[in-house]
């Protein structure tokens, strides 16, 4: 009996069984710190340093914060239902993509999301090697980078195996320290190089103001979109809709961009001091603030990346479980560890980072657009929970053989038209002036949402809204 009870608890916390109001353990700060811990990783600095080459200081700050705030604030709106019903985004998506559609896309998107953690582990490995070099220990990059990267994956896996309670307490201590470190880093950069010198740095990349600004904006939008499918998993643990929304959106929309901006500011400061744009935070801090500062960067890089691995593994395994609920969570976490380790050793994602994040964003964009439109306009915040959980006699979301052909067609149309006619991230070609207004990623979200709304005004409405006579829990 006790093992049955234990299993139910496990399936509630690390599974897809709806979480009841009285079981919620996260308040605003728990959610804010856990999500911040998830979002802070070395790739923030890499992204900031990359954008600094395209923009002036003022434009950099506006580009990073404003695009992230817009898209995060929008894509997090469905958190209100996640908190209300104690479910995650992917349970709702069964009504947009169909039950089998979710099983396939949840797995595909998680496999793509895990690419980020391969990058995270690789950056951990290279940062550690650079740091040890500062202490006189010279390790060969080719051999030790993958070994240290896999070490990062294993430590993150141990956190993920502990579930939300371990994540909560790890985050409370570590993230508070990391936020303080981040603030100190920015202050030290400004004291190391005068603000006037940083503000005077001109964009390194040539091109018109608009093209440079929107090319960087593509990176900002893709960065914001990358959280979308993962953002609505943890809020189900929260006690109120408002706390759930702000705990998540402030972490992704303000804290993560703050660390991207810190990476950009460090890159400017490095350029002023050495004439070279640098993206490795360990090197930047050692040069700007002296070798003694290396210990602080060790703390920052090591714990941030391990924390990200842990929470990322939990979140993405939960996404897969949303599509395939009967899989064992712990087994899934270990399989994810093996998969991310292979990606870390292979290194392809890191080598094709820009293309990778844009391509992933092109799948996530239409899902964001459709989810928000579906929640606010089409389904008007009402879902048939019994159909979403395949209860006997409730088949509204089985659609056509388990696939919602309308939702899936819109996803494909948005993805394909963007690559063919708006912006191709693989070649970097701008194919339409639309890119200079919306960016490629922004286009996919707006196109997905718009087409979904238009479809709901046609006779397809009957197909899309089969659940209106089955709304028993509202």
């Amino acid at each position: 009996m006790s093992s049955k009870t234990d299993y139910i608890v496990q399936e509630t916390v690390t599974g897809v069984v709806p979480m009841l109001n009285k079981e919620r353990k996260y308040n605003f700060w728990d959610l804010f710190l856990s999500t911040s811990g998830f979002s802070i990783a070395t790739w923030c600095y890499t992204q900031g340093a990359y954008m600094a080459e395209y923009l002036s200081f003022k434009q950099l700050l506006i580009n990073i914060f404003c695009f992230n705030i817009i898209w995060i604030f929008i894509e997090c709106i469905p958190i209100f239902f996640a908190v209300r019903y104690g479910i995650d985004l992917w349970v709702w998506l069964r009504s947009v993509l169909g039950i089998k559609g979710v099983a396939i896309f949840a797995t595909v998107i998680s496999m793509a999301n895990f690419g980020w953690y391969g990058v995270d582990a690789q950056l951990f490995g290279s940062s550690m090697i650079n740091l040890l070099r500062g202490f006189g220990i010279d390790l060969p990059m080719d051999i030790w980078k993958p070994i240290l990267g896999v070490g990062c994956v294993i430590l993150g896996t141990l956190i993920a195996l502990g579930g939300p309670e371990i994540i909560k307490w790890t985050s409370r201590v570590l993230v508070t320290a990391l936020l303080i470190v981040g603030a100190v880093v920015v202050v030290l950069c400004f004291t190391s190089v005068p603000l006037a010198d940083i503000a005077a740095v001109q964009p390194h990349i040539e091109g018109s103001n608009l093209v440079r600004f929107m090319t960087s904006a593509e990176g900002s939008c893709a960065f914001a979109f990358s959280w979308s499918t993962q953002a609505l998993v943890i809020p189900r643990l929260c006690k109120s809709e408002s706390k759930g929304y702000w705990g998540t959106s402030l972490a992704y929309g303000v804290v993560a961009p703050f660390f991207v901006a810190a990476g950009g500011i460090m890159a400017y400061a490095m350029f002023v001091k050495t004439g070279v744009f640098e993206s490795d935070p360990t090197n930047m801090l050692a040069t700007l603030c002296g070798p003694g500062f290396s210990l602080l960067s060790l703390l920052m890089v090591a714990f941030a990346n391990i924390g990200t691995q842990g929470i990322g593994s939990y979140v993405n395994c939960m996404i897969i479980k949303s599509g395939l609920p009967k899989l064992n969570y712990k087994l899934l976490v270990w399989l994810a560890a093996v998969y991310v380790s292979i990606l870390t050793i292979w290194g392809w994602v890191m080598d094709s980072f820009g293309s990778f994040i844009s391509m992933a964003a092109y799948i996530q964009g239409p899902i964001i657009g459709m989810t928000v439109v579906d929640y606010l306009i089409v389904k008007k915040r009402k879902l048939s929970l019994k159909s979403a959980f395949f209860m006997k006699g409730h088949d509204a979301y089985r659609f056509t053989g388990g696939f919602n052909l309308v939702g899936l067609s819109i996803l494909v149309i948005s993805f394909v038209t963007c690559i063919l006619f708006v912006y191709n991230p693989l070649t970097g070609d701008i194919l339409s002036p639309v890119f200079l207004v919306l960016t490629g990623s922004g286009y996919t979200a707006i196109c997905g949402g718009l087409l979904y709304w238009i479809a709901s005004l046609t006779p397809l409405k009957k197909y899309m809204l089969r659940d209106r006579n089955d709304l028993e829990i509202v």
């Binding site: 809709e241 408002s242 209860m391």
Partner: protein, 61 residues
């Protein structure tokens, strides 16, 4: 012992039980978001759009 549990059946039974609790008129849902939340969301988005347009048009360089 855990191996003897029919995982699928257990998940379905527990989900059904919980949905029945949520359907009951006595069930108290978490506190809803208020007008202030929507005002802050809209405000954040509008201010961001204005700043972006100023950068795109070259007013802020």
């Amino acid at each position: 012992m855990a191996d003897k549990i029919d995982i699928g059946k257990l998940i379905d039974e527990e989900t059904e039980k919980r949905l029945a609790i949520m359907q009951s008129p006595d069930y108290e849902f978490p506190k809803k978001a208020g007008t202030a939340d929507w005002v802050f969301i809209c405000l954040g988005i509008v201010i961001s759009i204005i700043l972006i347009v100023l950068c795109m048009t070259g007013v802020i360089v």
